[in-house]
């Protein structure tokens, strides 16, 4: 199996966010919101870190 770096990030963020949402909140709506929040932070944080590394390399 071969995954690109970005698809690995997306799968990792999706699975972890689902579990975080379910375990860290009590109501279904808040679970979904928290899962979405975690997903955005995981993926967004990775993209920002990638650009920072690109800038350091230049």
């Amino acid at each position: 199996m071969m995954l690109s770096h970005f698809s690995a990030v997306l799968l990792f963020a999706l699975c972890v966010s689902v579990v975080f949402g379910i375990t860290q909140r009590t109501e279904p709506r808040k679970m979904a919101l928290f899962a979405g929040y975690c997903f955005i932070l995981f993926v967004g944080g990775t993209i920002i870190a990638s650009w920072v590394m690109w800038l350091i390399k230049r």
Partner: protein, 139 residues
């Protein structure tokens, strides 16, 4: 008012400690099973799918499955993380899945996927235990 309080009390009534322990152990052995035991089917299925998918991706990427060891600290922590996956880890060890050492670049991702799947399973099992004993409100 009394009716509302009664409904709230019913929702937060803790189960027996035996059921809480069963939810913890079952949740560790099979991802999401603790939630299913408590009647939280959707949560149980979502947890099961997330953890099994992560673990499977890790194995497919030829991630390392740690054996019990007393060597390097990171190896010991890796084993502890793997052990969190419960039945999945035991199955992987019995079937000889995964790699003994990281040999290709993406295998390092695979190793992390397997360890994180185990850690998430511990969080989910503890969450089922908290739901069962009333520490976490059941919605």
């Amino acid at each position: 008012m009394e009716e509302r309080m009664a409904t709230h009390a019913e929702q937060t009534t803790p189960h027996s400690s035996g059921k809480a322990t069963a939810a913890l152990i079952l949740g560790w052995l099979i991802p999401g099973a603790g939630h299913v035991l408590l009647g939280k089917w959707v949560r149980g299925v979502l947890i099961f799918a997330s953890i099994v998918i992560m673990f499977s991706i890790g194995i497919a990427l030829q991630g390392k499955v740690y054996a019990p060891n007393m060597g390097d600290l990171l190896d010991m922590l890796g084993f502890a993380g793997n052990l969190g996956a419960g039945g999945l880890y035991l199955l992987a060890r019995m079937m000889g899945w995964g790699a003994q050492a990281v040999q290709i670049a993406v295998a390092d991702y695979g190793t992390k996927f397997i360890v994180v799947a185990g850690l998430l399973n511990v969080i989910a099992a503890v969450d089922a235990h908290s739901l069962a004993n009333g520490r976490k409100a059941a919605a």
